[in-house]
């Protein structure tokens, strides 16, 4: 009899799928529409109902009014979404690096299982782990929101004034550090060309003895020079362009080189087997890897913050413009 009304209510019901009082809401709307049709048109025939329904609003708009107060994550917790994800991802990422360096899988109960992966698989695994961390934090904040309790979530008291830091960075002269870095790098290149290594048993150039075998010397010294060279090049680029992209690319390339070094490790690299240096070398590589990874994440966060600030600025400008 009221085919259009039923269809209309059905559509609203579709949008209210997650609302517990759905049936009651639909009854209210039905009762109102029938009442209005009868009061204003004297009957509840098709024509009258059509008019009343059209006037009531589209099903989506009607449903939205009931769910606009429903919060997945309360505004006061939204800031924690990226903070907690960042912290969790830093931990996750460190574990991935450790499993990569020590060539082993890891299980940190109850959340993390980190399989041993090569660098190519890592390219896919790292973004996936970020999405996983984001989801995990999202679920946690969802439950905190739904608990309706006045919970104060913990966070470090550290306050970084990004604008001030950037101003400080811009104000500082880059010329002298660059000259020093360049000279240091040139000295390392000279040492490498002269002695075919950058790793010595003792600091005695008269009687220089390489710590590593010739093949390992060449491989690891070239890698070290490449790492430092990229750092120096990125520093030079900043004379012309202060974009965070330079930092991001720098640490990205450094991570790539380190990945290659770890993957193509030379067996028995030490010339002096009585020196048990393998563990120390592993620790050193891990520390370097973590430092570069932190640098990489820092660049990603800074770029993320800048683009968010830019969006907010454009949005504000748009509002101002409209006014």
């Amino acid at each position: 009899m009221h085919e259009k009304l039923n269809k209309y209510l059905e559509e609203i019901s579709h949008y209210l799928a997650a609302v517990s009082e759905k049936e009651e809401i639909l009854n209210e709307i039905k009762s109102h529409i029938l009442e209005k049709a009868e009061q204003e048109f004297g009957q509840t025939n098709k024509g009258a109902l059509d008019k009343v329904i059209d006037n009531y609003g589209s099903p989506r708009k009607v449903a939205e009014k009931y769910i606009e107060d429903f919060e997945i994550i309360a505004p006061r917790f939204k800031g924690y979404l990226l903070r907690y994800t960042g912290a969790l991802f830093a931990l996750h990422f460190s574990l991935i690096l450790l499993s990569f360096v020590f060539k082993t899988s890891m299980l940190v109960f109850p959340f993390f299982y980190i399989p041993y992966i090569n660098s190519l698989q890592g390219l896919f695994y790292v973004p996936m782990s970020f999405v996983f961390d984001l989801g995990l934090v999202g679920i946690f904040l969802y439950f905190v929101t739904q608990s309706q309790k006045d919970i104060r979530l913990p966070w470090f008291k550290l306050k970084i004034n990004w604008q001030k830091t950037a101003q400080k960075r811009q104000g500082r002269s880059r010329v002298i550090p660059f000259i020093l870095m360049f000279m240091g790098y040139a000295a390392l290149v000279w040492i490498y060309l002269r002695f075919n290594t950058l790793f010595f048993k003792t600091i005695d150039f008269q009687n220089a003895q390489s710590l590593l075998t010739p093949a390992a010397s060449q491989w690891y010294s070239s890698a070290l020079l490449a790492l430092l060279g990229i750092g120096l090049a990125a520093y030079a680029v900043k004379f012309f362009n202060t974009s965070e992209w330079a930092n991001l690319l720098k640490s990205g390339f450094q991570l790539l080189i380190l990945g290659i070094v770890i993957n193509k490790r030379i067996e028995a690299p030490f010339q002096f087997p009585y020196l048990n240096l393998q563990v120390m070398a592993n620790i050193l590589i891990t520390v370097i890897l973590i430092l570069i990874a932190i640098d990489f994440l820092k660049s990603v966060i800074i770029m993320g913050r800048k683009s968010l600030a830019k969006i907010a600025y454009q949005k504000n400008n748009l509002i101002e413009g409209k006014k």
């Binding site: 809401i25 009854n27 709307i29 009762s31 109102h32 009531y56 609003g57």
Partner: protein, 112 residues
Amino acid sequence: MATDITPFETEMNRGFLQVLVLVLLERKMYGYYIVKKLKKKGYLIEENTLYPLLRRLEKKGLIKSQWDVSEKRPRKFYIISKKGQDVRRQLLSIWQRQNEILIHISKENKNA
């Protein structure tokens, strides 16, 4: 070009509507009657705004509702609760104070 004040009006109406409904529901009424009553007073309220508002007020315990099925057509009647009366009294006093502040500052601006 005149500024479109619709978004500002919508925001302002949110609070006003709550008080208005709490004042109106001193006597029990059903949804359609509330719309009609307000229309007579010169205030147009969209039906699809009124019902979600009534639901929110009921959830907060400020009003109570009951279906009346004795008539030909079932109607849901709403009436203010004890808690609602208390909240209404406080909201009205806030509104009065805000109104006085506005009038006072406007007068000051005129005399300046």
